[in-house]
């Protein structure tokens, strides 16, 4: 069935006002799904004739790592929302063309005891807000109010990120914010109807946006772009809600996994240090000495097994939720992509008709 007549009606219909509408004086934030830092490259000997083969990541490790890439940006989202100083804050699986403030994150280290994130944030005009690493040790936190958002082992690290972003935000004037919103809209238009929006915007050598001129306030193509963006937000909000559900389902399991992992790391380090410092009381080569040596080794192997079991428990509990989210994101992203293609085609046709 051809969708375009329906879409045309949608484009020409008036847009209902939503919270996320551009020009509200607040900077909207789009947070991308985080990524894990790539593993350290394998050093190949200069005279090696064969490339080392790759070792597949165990399933239980992969499940935790995947969950983290979604969980951590969601937590950042809630922290930013809590400040009340930003506009709509969304977590997106795909790049947002019309983002006012775009945040990306890389998980450098996450082992339950230590979390290190490399965060980059830049606005639509190309201004860099933040590009640095944040690292923190887990601290058990409990609030009097029982605030689930504040009660996170790495709440301090996220507070640092939010503080840094707020510092940048408060340094902006109303004109700056207005400019960020305008450029975001023009960039969005550029992605949909490049022929109509390319005269308005260019970039300098550093990637900073230069507004060459602005379309008229009643420009029909601009009105349609605003309309399309509002409708895209409706789709995005559904994806965002799916991430919200994922966060709520996974949080108790992930918190527990981090706690167990932390306890294991601490006790393991303590025992290893104790055993190595104490040395052996038995004669070298005797049955007792051999047994002691083997038991120490066996203990480390059992610890490895325990860590894997934690991962397995995590996977078993989170996998159904994770698959559900994958499915939602896949379906909605696919629909959005199709919509985007249709919008682009129709808008190009309309622009051609109007400029003939």
């Amino acid at each position: 069935m051809r969708l375009w007549p329906l879409l045309l009606v949608m484009l020409l219909a008036p847009v209902s006002s939503t919270q996320a509408q551009s020009g509200d004086g607040f900077v909207d934030v789009s947070i991308g799904i985080f990524v894990h830092s790539p593993p350290a490259p394998v050093v190949v000997a200069p005279n090696a004739t064969k490339t080392p083969a790759a070792v597949a990541e165990p399933k239980q490790v992969a499940a935790v790592r995947t969950a983290e890439t979604r969980f951590l940006p969601m937590y950042l989202r809630y922290r930013l929302e809590q400040t009340g100083n930003f506009g709509a804050v969304r977590v997106l699986p795909v790049p947002d063309n019309g983002a006012e403030l775009k945040i990306s994150g890389e998980i450098v280290r996450s082992d339950g005891a230590v979390l290190e994130l490399a965060i980059k944030a830049s606005d639509s005009t190309g201004r860099l807000w933040l590009d640095r690493s944040f690292s923190g040790n887990a601290v058990a936190s409990e609030t009097l109010s029982g605030d689930a958002i504040a009660e996170d082992a790495f709440a301090g690290l996220f507070a640092d990120i939010v503080r840094e972003l707020q510092r940048q935000l408060t340094a902006l004037s109303a004109d700056d914010i207005n400019r960020i919103e305008t450029v975001a809209l023009l960039r969005y238009g550029l992605g949909l109807v490049p022929e109509a929006f390319s005269p308005y915007l260019s970039e300098d050598a550093n990637g900073v946006a230069i507004i060459k001129r602005l379309p008229a306030a009643d420009d029909p193509i601009l009105t349609r772009i605003v309309s399309v963006r509002e409708r895209e937000y409706l789709f995005i909000d559904v994806v965002d809600a799916a991430y919200g559900q994922f966060y709520a389902d996974v949080k108790p399991v992930y918190d527990l996994w981090r706690e167990f992992q932390r306890e294991q790391t601490d006790s393991s380090a303590a025992r290893t240090a104790r055993e190595l410092a104490a040395g052996s009381d038995f004669a070298r080569g005797s049955y007792r000495a051999l047994q002691e040596s083997y038991n120490n080794y066996r203990w480390t192997k059992l610890q490895e097994l325990y860590v894997d079991e934690l991962g397995e428990g995590f996977t078993n509990e989170v996998e159904p939720t994770s698959l559900q989210l994958d499915d939602s994101v896949f379906r909605l992203s696919g629909t959005l992509e199709q919509q985007y293609r249709d919008w682009r085609r129709i808008l190009a046709e309309l622009f051609a008709l109007e400029t003939q």
């Binding site: 394998v42 050093v43 190949v44 000997a45 090696a48 064969k50 080392p52 083969a53 790759a54 070792v55 597949a56 165990p58 108790p252 399991v253 527990l256 996994w257 167990f260 290893t272 055993e275 190595l276 052996s280 004669a283 070298r284 080569g285 005797s286 049955y287 007792r288 000495a289 051999l290 047994q291 002691e292 040596s293 083997y294 120490n296 080794y297 066996r298 203990w299 480390t300 192997k301 059992l302 490895e304 097994l305 079991e309 934690l310 397995e312 428990g313 995590f314 078993n316 509990e317």
Partner: protein, 253 residues
């Protein structure tokens, strides 16, 4: 250890392997792996680390050991007999080395405590009445009663080395056999070599335990027969928030 010391150490291990090739044919094929691990063991032993930088890829045709295995006591080594042979072997080695004066002699002469200790220890770690093996393209997991799982995440690699504060290990393929080799503190080394009979019904686990205070390692060969455990009516899953969650087969929870 200085480079010259390391070389001497590796050389003496190579000589030990060469000797053992004549005496214990079963050990011959694992000699290269033993050599690699033993030399690696003198390097840094930090926290658990995996080193795959030098490992080549395996051929791709892997033996499938998966299944439930129970010890076949008739075919397996009887420890008392094995111990008698072992003592005889040590006496022969000691006498021969004295006569030939090749330098291949146990440190400090015959250390009876070390010999008995090694034998007793070898017997203890080779009891393993049941083995439960799961295996796929990524690796193998051998669950043993009363001991840690022997696991090897070989993936595409021929062998994988790792280390922790208490020892170094290497596991991998030696033709159609799977080898686990551990070099632990106090001069203790253990290797398990696992092979399958041509019809797939018998599993052989040959364990070699050696100490740097005893010239001849203890070698124990155990056989296992495949068995099908009674069907479990429960399907259990490990979870973090609810521990182990079991459901009856064919029924939802």
């Amino acid at each position: 250890m200085p480079a010259s010391g390391l070389f001497t150490h590796c050389l003496s291990l190579a000589m030990l392997c060469f000797r053992l090739l004549h005496r214990l044919l079963i050990l011959g094929s694992s000699c290269m792996l033993l050599f690699v691990t033993a030399c690696a063991s003198d390097q840094v032993a930090g926290p658990a680390a995996l080193n795959t930088s030098a490992a080549p890829k395996h051929s791709g045709a892997l033996t499938d050991f998966s299944g439930h295995w129970e010890k076949n006591y008739q075919l397996s080594d009887d420890f008392n007999t094995r111990f008698q042979l072992y003592i005889a072997d040590i006496q022969r080695t000691f006498t021969q080395s004295n006569v030939e004066a090749t330098g291949f002699s146990p440190a400090g002469g015959v250390n009876a405590d070390a010999i008995n200790g090694l034998a007793r220890f070898a017997e203890e770690i080779t009891r393993m009445p049941l083995l439960d093996i799961t295996q796929d393209a990524a690796g193998i997991d051998i669950e043993r009663e009363n001991d840690f799982n022997l696991r090897c995440a070989y993936g595409e690699l021929l062998y994988v080395q790792s280390s922790n504060a208490f020892g170094n290990d290497l596991c991998g393929w030696n033709s159609e056999r799977m080898v686990f080799r551990m070099q632990l503190g106090g001069g203790l080394a253990i290797s398990h070599q696992i092979s399958l009979s041509p019809d797939g019904g018998q599993l052989n686990v040959t364990t070699t335990v050696s100490s740097d205070l005893v010239a001849v390692p203890v070698v124990i060969s155990n056989y296992y027969t495949r068995f099908n455990p009674p069907e479990d009516n429960y399907d259990c899953q490990l979870t973090l928030t609810r521990n182990r969650v079991c459901t009856q087969q064919g029924r939802s929870q």
